[in-house]
C-alpha cells in the first residue's frame, strides 16, 4: 500500500503493519483505559497469545485460534464470575493464569520439539516475516476500529461516562459493550504476530495514557492517541530495521520514554503544581 513512499518491500511491510496495528490499538486503548477495563484488555491479549501458541502447535491458522481464544475470554468473564460466585476481577485473574499456563506450556513443548524459533515470534513480535494478507487484515481492523468509534460515538461516550447512567438513558449498553470487546479481541489477535504477546499491552495502554496528559476532552483523546502511536511505531520500525534492532521491543521502550516525557511536560501537571 505504501510502496510508492517506501521502495524497500520489507521495510514497507513492517511500517504498514506497525502503522495499522498501532492506530487500531491506540483507538481501542482510549476506550479500554477510560472504561477502566484494562485488566480485560490485558487478559484478552494473553488469551490471544495462548490461542496462537496452541494453533502453532496444532499446525492450524494461529491467527484464527488467537481470535477464538480472545473472543472466548471476552465472553466468558461475565458467566464465569456469575456461576463461580467470584468477582469479575478474580475471574480475570483466573483466565489470565490459565492463558499464560497454556501459552508457556505449548511454547516450551515446541522448543523441545525443535519448533521454538517460530513460537518466540509470538512472545516478542516479528515484523519481517509478514504476509501481504496479514497486512490487509490489519488495515481492515484498523478501519473497523475507526468506523466503530465514529458510528457508536455517543453510545461509547455514555458508557465511558457511567455505565449505569448510560443504561438509564435508554442506551443499549450490553450489545455496544460486547461489540467493543469483539473488536478489541480481533485487534489484539491480529496485532499479536507483529507486536508479541508480552508487549501488546504497551500498545493498548501507553498511547491513551500519553494523550490523557494533554487532552481534557474524550474526542481529542481519540485523535491524539492514534497520532502519537503512529509516529512512535513508524519511527520504531524505521530505526529498528535500520540498526538491526528488535522492532517491537524498541518501539515499546520508545513508547515508555515518550510517556515519561509527556508526564513531565503535561499542562495538567503544571496546573496541579500551581494549585498546590
Amino acid at each position: 500500500m505504501l510502496e510508492f513512499l517506501i521502495p524497500n518491500v520489507v521495510v514497507c511491510h513492517a511500517v504498514e503493519a506497525m502503522l495499522f496495528a498501532s492506530v487500531a490499538c491506540a483507538i481501542l486503548g482510549v476506550i479500554i483505559t477510560q472504561i477502566q477495563i484494562s485488566s480485560i484488555g490485558f487478559t484478552m491479549a494473553h488469551a490471544a497469545f495462548a490461542g496462537a501458541a496452541i494453533g502453532m502447535f496444532l499446525s492450524v491458522n494461529s491467527t484464527l485460534t488467537a481470535i477464538l481464544a480472545s473472543v472466548c475470554v471476552a465472553f466468558l468473564i461475565g458467566p464465569l464470575s456469575d456461576r463461580a460466585r467470584i468477582s469479575p476481577d478474580t475471574a480475570l485473574g483466573l483466565l489470565f493464569g490459565i492463558s499464560m499456563a497454556l501459552a508457556i506450556f505449548f511454547i516450551a513443548y515446541m522448543q523441545t520439539l525443535g519448533r521454538g524459533f517460530s513460537a518466540m515470534g509470538l512472545l516478542f513480535g516479528d515484523v519481517i516475516s509478514l504476509y501481504r494478507e496479514e497486512i490487509y487484515l490489519l488495515a481492515i481492523i484498523c478501519v473497523a476500529a475507526i468506523v466503530m468509534v465514529v458510528l457508536l460515538y455517543k453510545e461509547i461516550t455514555s458508557i465511558i461516562f457511567h455505565r449505569r447512567i448510560a443504561e438509564s438513558l435508554g442506551i443499549r449498553v450490553q450489545p455496544v459493550y460486547y461489540t467493543m470487546l469483539f473488536v478489541i479481541a480481533l485487534t489484539v489477535s491480529l496485532a499479536l504476530p507483529i507486536i508479541g504477546g508480552l508487549l501488546l499491552y504497551v500498545w493498548l495502554v501507553t498511547p491513551a495514557a500519553i494523550a490523557l496528559q494533554f487532552c481534557n476532552r474524550l474526542s481529542s483523546m481519540f485523535i491524539v492517541a492514534p497520532i502519537v502511536a503512529a509516529i512512535v511505531s513508524v519511527s520504531g520500525a524505521f530505526a529498528g530495521l535500520e540498526y538491526a534492532l528488535p522492532v517491537a521491543p524498541l518501539t515499546a521502550v520508545a513508547f515508555s520514554l515518550v510517556f515519561i516525557v509527556s508526564v513531565l511536560v503535561s499542562p495538567r501537571r503544571r496546573i496541579a503544581k500551581q494549585k498546590g
Binding site: F161, H162, S168, L169, I171, R217
Partner: protein
C-alpha cells in the same frame, strides 16, 4: 394509551437480585397517574431504590406485570427508559473524567436520538434549556469530575430534563444540595408536575415540598405498607407515623 390510563401500573410485581434467595420487592401493586408527585419513604433496605429501578426496567421483574408510559417493562425496558428520567442515588466521577457539564447534559438525549445518528439541533437546544432551568450555565464548560456533589447532582438532573421525560424517578436528589438549591429545585419539580410530568421521589428531606397535595408511599421489607395523599406539611408526620422516617440526609 387513553388519557385515563395510569402512566405507571404495577400488578403483583416481584423483583429479585440475581443470586438472592428471596425477592427484594414482593407483591407490589400500584398505579400512578400523569402529573402526580409521589414521595417514597421507608427505612434503609426497604426496597425504595429497587422500586424505582423496577419501574424503569433496570431490574428484572420475576413475577407480575408492569406497564410504564404505555410499554410493557418486561419486554420493552429500553423504550421505557427513553421516556423515563432516572437520577441515581450513588454516583461518583473521577476528577479526570473527560466530560464537561454541557456534554453530560446532552447525553440525556442520546437514548432517543437513535443508533448511528448524531444529536440534532433541537437536542442541543433542549440540553441548553435544561442547563438554564437548573441555573448551571456558569459551570457548563467545566469537567464534571471537578465539581462539588451538589453541582454534579444538578448536572445529572439537567441531563434527565434534557429529553423531556414523561416520568421522573429521583433517588435522594437533595442529598448534596444546600437549602437554597433545594428550594429552587423543589419549585422546578412543582412546575414539572403542573406541566404533566409524573415524579416519584425517594427522599428523607420533607421540607420545601410543592404547594399542593402530594402522594406518600411508605415501604417496609419490599412491600408498600402505606399509600395516601396528604398536604405537604403533613408528609413528615405521615411517614414517621408509618415507621418510615430516618434522620435527615
Amino acid at each position: 394509551m387513553q388519557a385515563e390510563d395510569p402512566v405507571i401500573r404495577l400488578d403483583n410485581v416481584y423483583t429479585a437480585y440475581e443470586g438472592a434467595d428471596r425477592p427484594t420487592l414482593a407483591d407490589i401493586t400500584m398505579s400512578v397517574h400523569r402529573g402526580e408527585f409521589v414521595i417514597i419513604g421507608g427505612p434503609n433496605g426497604a426496597g425504595k431504590t429497587t422500586l424505582l429501578e423496577t419501574v424503569n426496567g433496570m431490574l428484572t421483574i420475576t413475577h407480575g406485570t408492569a406497564r410504564v408510559c404505555g410499554h410493557d417493562v418486561r419486554t420493552n425496558a429500553v423504550r421505557v427508559r427513553r421516556r423515563v428520567g432516572y437520577m441515581l442515588q450513588n454516583f461518583s466521577f473521577d476528577p479526570l473524567t473527560p466530560f464537561t457539564v454541557d456534554e453530560v447534559v446532552l447525553m440525556g438525549c442520546y437514548g432517543t436520538v437513535g443508533l448511528f445518528r448524531r444529536p440534532k439541533e433541537e437536542d442541543v437546544a433542549a440540553a441548553r434549556k435544561a442547563i438554564r432551568l437548573l441555573g448551571i450555565e456558569d459551570i457548563a464548560d467545566r469537567p464534571i469530575g471537578q465539581l462539588s456533589g451538589g453541582q454534579q447532582q444538578k448536572a445529572l438532573l439537567a441531563q434527565n430534563l434534557a429529553r423531556n421525560p414523561e416520568v421522573l424517578l429521583l433517588d435522594e436528589p437533595f442529598s448534596n444540595l444546600d437549602m437554597f438549591a433545594r428550594e429552587s429545585i423543589n419549585a422546578l419539580l412543582a412546575d414539572l408536575t403542573a406541566a404533566g410530568v409524573t415524579i416519584l421521589i425517594v427522599s428523607h428531606a420533607f421540607d420545601d415540598l410543592p404547594d399542593h397535595t402530594v402522594r406518600v408511599m411508605v415501604m417496609h421489607d419490599g412491600k408498600i405498607t402505606l399509600d395516601r395523599r396528604c398536604a405537604p406539611d403533613q408528609v413528615e408526620a405521615t411517614v414517621r407515623g408509618a415507621g418510615g422516617a430516618q434522620p435527615h440526609a
